[in-house]
């Protein structure tokens, strides 16, 4: 195996995640112990992985995520404040001092949706388009995880959210939701 291996990030990542076929993994290990460049490159992958784990566990990310990530964080003891949003309704929300992550779970009929966009805006403000968000149609919901370090700085405001689905039948609005954020803090306990 040549030291072009150091440039093959996909190979190193598949090895690190345990997804390389066993024979290939064994050969790569032989090479990693004999090649300083490739060992250093793998070390870089490990550092990235460790850094990403740290960001995830400390709730330092804002993203649409599948339920499994939120469930895993909760199982690891993360204090997640959850709001279940129903299309057409306004949901009061806020952030408590000891919250580590916010999760807005938008209930939606995602049958037939092949691609999903999320649009967000405040009052008369500009729309923020989050295109091609991950979703699990079977779960019937979309989860927006919001970092609390930012949310604590938000003023009292209403946030509008719209899910737009694209499928064989064209484009359709899957759901429209609203969150009434109170800068003073959350409504009665909703933590998951």
């Amino acid at each position: 195996m040549s030291c072009a291996t150091a440039d093959d990030l996909r190979l190193l990542v598949d090895y690190w995640t345990g997804e390389l076929p066993e024979e290939e993994a064994l050969r790569l290990e032989e090479h990693l112990f004999a090649c300083a460049a490739c060992a250093a490159r793998l070390g870089g992958v490990e550092q990235l992985a460790t850094g990403l784990r740290h960001l995830a566990r400390s709730g330092r990310f804002r993203s649409v995520v599948p339920p499994s990530l939120v469930d895993r964080l909760a199982a690891d003891g993360a204090r997640i404040r959850t709001y279940r949003l129903v299309s057409g309704a306004v949901t009061p929300c806020g952030v408590a001092a000891d919250d580590e992550l916010l999760a807005a779970r938008l209930g939606a009929d995602l049958r037939g949706v092949q691609r999903l966009d999320l649009v967000m805006w405040q009052g008369g403000g500009a729309e923020e388009l989050v295109p091609d968000v991950p979703f699990d149609a079977a779960a019937g919901e979309v989860i927006l995880a919001e970092r609390v370090d930012r949310a604590r700085a938000y003023p009292t405001h209403r946030l509008h959210l719209r899910l737009v689905g694209h499928g064989a039948g064209g484009e359709r609005v899957v759901g429209e939701y609203a969150l009434d954020h109170d800068a003073a803090g959350p409504p009665p306990e909703r933590r998951s």
Partner: protein, 203 residues
């Protein structure tokens, strides 16, 4: 210049002042110097060179930092012990020998505490002098770089490295294929790496 004259089967060449820096020695010569007699600089270099690789092997197979650190100590101790006793069959294949020792150590049950204590007393000082823990990333920089990823890519890397999900599982959750997940993951990591390097981080 020194390496061009290097003939490891000649004793005085091994101790030539022109190759005093053990970092310049290849693995086989390093092993030979250790086998020929106590050579602390060579032993320290061996530990410096292989401790990170052993730690990564430990993290990959044991998935726990503390266990990986234990593996580093145990393997370095065992390797030094064998080199000093002259019982390494082919010092020229030092890397393979270290890897084989890693595999054996992980696969076997731990040796009795008395035996380990004795080995630590004779070889642990040198092994403990190595620090395999690499420099850490600046997570604030990584935080900013992560925000620059597309939502789907961000979800893939978080599912991979926090939730420990494989490409197949992620694909099922995102309604795509495992091949697509691997492509997204690869590109996301390349982007993170480029972003960190642009901000001056080594990755």
């Amino acid at each position: 210049m020194g390496l061009a004259r290097y003939r490891p089967d000649v004793d005085e060449e091994l101790r030539s002042p022109e190759v005093d820096d053990p970092r310049a020695l290849d693995d086989g010569v390093l092993a030979s110097r250790i086998a020929r007699g106590r050579d602390r600089p060579a032993e320290l270099e061996l530990c410096r060179r292989f401790a990170p690789r052993i730690r990564l092997y430990g993290l990959r197979h044991l998935r726990e930092e503390a266990a990986a650190q234990d593996l580093v100590q145990d393997v370095l101790i065992a390797v030094l012990d064998r080199l000093r006793s002259g019982t390494v069959h082919d010092p020229g294949r030092l890397a393979s020998f270290v890897l084989g020792t890693c595999r054996l150590t992980v696969a076997n049950t731990r040796r009795g505490s008395a035996r380990r204590a004795a080995l630590l007393a004779s070889a642990g000082g040198v092994a403990a002098a190595s620090d395999p823990a690499p420099p850490r990333l600046d997570v604030d920089h990584l935080d900013r770089c992560l925000e620059l990823l597309a939502t789907r890519a961000r979800a893939v890397v978080l599912l991979t490295f926090y939730a420990g999900e494989g490409a197949d599982g992620i694909a099922r959750q995102l309604g795509t294929t495992a091949g697509n997940v691997r492509v997204v993951r690869h590109r996301a990591l390349e982007r993170l790496r480029a972003c960190l390097q642009a901000r001056g981080e080594a990755a």
